[in-house]
Amino acid sequence: MRRSMRADETAARSSGNPVSLDGPARDPAVARTTSAADVVHVASLSKRYGEVVAADDVSFALPAGSVTGLLGPNGAGKTTVLRVLLGLAEPHKGEALILGRRYRDLDRPMHVVGAVLESGDFDPGRNGRDHLRVLAFAADVPQRRVDEALAVVGLARAAKRAVRTYSLGMRQRLTLAAALLGSPQLLVLDEPANGLDAKGVHWLRTFLRGFAADGGTVLVSSHVLAEIAQTVDHVVIVDRGHVVARSSLAELVADGKTLEEVYLALTSEDAA
């Protein structure tokens, strides 16, 4: 992992809590929360799909070295925000920056950001190792990283098998291996625990904490609160496209409530 963010991370942590509970509309502090130490900076982001407003005026910032959970019910806009952040979708308003630049303007982006999308994006006929070799060429990563990444996620023995024979959990591990190819300083994960068994979830949690301890920054979306509460130190809760809470986990549950109680109070019951 890159450790170049360490100094920034320390600075961010010592400058106090950079995320606030205020809603984005009455939050004049977006500028304050945005500093050179912010790895991710999302400001007033809006995205519509036809009539559906998937994200409306979403703002948050991630300091280096933090593990932030992007929480919300199904359809709340989590994936939309991540898709815009990763340059796969264009916002209608606002911006999402990584180290001050749009994803599509990053030079060799996989050296900066590793992304794990939930959709399981493979050619099922290609084997796991060849999948990574293809991406390593495209991302300008040395081919030796392929076997290293396979070993990190525990897929070395299945590397020569077609992805169609993989279980859901193995596919998740392969996606994570792809995200790690470029030794990025930021990991963006969309529902990464989907399909992982208890052991897999535990492994992932340990991995993410270690990644952050090494100075890496993590943004992880989830609708499964139990897995999040033990992994993240900051949370951004979205509901129906709006940010309804933005805080450190400790602050959010400060008055004795559990994350689940706070979450249920803030989010709507209807599926969006």
């Binding site: 796969l88 990053l106 996989m110 290609r126 060849d130 991406l135 060429f137």
Partner: protein, 250 residues
């Protein structure tokens, strides 16, 4: 850019899609050449009749188009397009690499199909005691034409696939256009149809994929056919790249 091209070439080699398309092409050429070769009436086994049989290698153009199309619609279908564009967010670079790799595969498709058509066609006619009427330059035009036509139809398929995005309509559309629509038009409206991309491919090789070679007016000269087809390929690619740059990745 070299890394992106190497990635695309590796993609071609590491699934069976290209192999199956190649096998399908060769099987179809065998079938058609044998069928027509054994059925060709000796009274029609003149130069143009024989060119029609040997010209079935032009099917390489259709399969090159299918390969070009699948190289993008397949990724859109299975989702690989997302990691592809995460690794290379400058999407026109990805399409340029796909263009080169599909054209390379098209070269191989066109050459193999035409050599097979000539070899099998000659053997079939010889076995029936029909003298071969083709000269050295006919063979040269057939092979060169088959190769160029296939190399230029690959980007047409890629451009159409990148524009339509949906795999099944793209593949059906390409097949229907080349095998059916143009075939109808070249019979009914040859003055217009000779400027269409399928007829341009036929002009390069001197033989149509299907049906009669029109004589009034005839197909374009090979060089003009190649230039026209290159123009179609460029337009298809420009539209495909613009659509890919502008639209969200699904």
């Amino acid at each position: 850019m070299t890394g992106v091209l190497r990635a695309e070439l590796l993609k071609l080699r590491t699934t069976r899609t290209a192999v199956w398309l190649f096998a399908g092409l060769l099987a179809l050429v065998c079938f058609v050449v044998l069928l027509h070769g054994f059925n060709l009436s000796p009274s029609r086994a003149d130069h143009s009749g024989q060119m029609r049989i040997f010209g079935w290698g032009e099917l390489g153009a259709l399969f090159a188009a299918l390969l070009g199309a699948v190289s993008i619609t397949g990724e859109l279908r299975n989702g690989l397009v997302r990691p592809t564009f995460l690794a290379t967010p400058r999407r026109q670079q990805v399409l340029a690499a796909k263009l080169l790799s599909a054209m390379l595969a098209g070269l191989a498709f066109g050459a193999a199909a035409e050599v097979l058509a000539i070899g099998l066609g000659s053997a079939t006619l010889s076995a029936r005691g029909i003298p071969i009427r083709l000269e050295g330059e006919d063979y040269a035009q057939l092979i060169l034409g088959g190769v160029v036509a296939a190399a230029l139809w690959a980007p047409v398929g890629l451009g159409v696939g990148a524009s339509l995005r949906n795999q099944v309509p793209t593949l059906i559309g390409l097949c229907a256009w080349l095998l059916f629509v143009e075939n109808l038009l070249i019979g009914e409206l040859p003055a217009v149809a000779r400027y269409l991309p399928g007829a341009a491919a036929a002009a390069i090789g001197g033989a149509t994929i299907t049906g009669e070679v029109p004589t009034d007016p005839p197909l374009l000269p090979p060089i003009l056919g190649a230039l026209l087809l290159a123009g179609y390929a460029a337009v298809a690619m420009i539209i495909g790249i613009a659509a890919t740059e502008r639209r969200d990745v699904p």
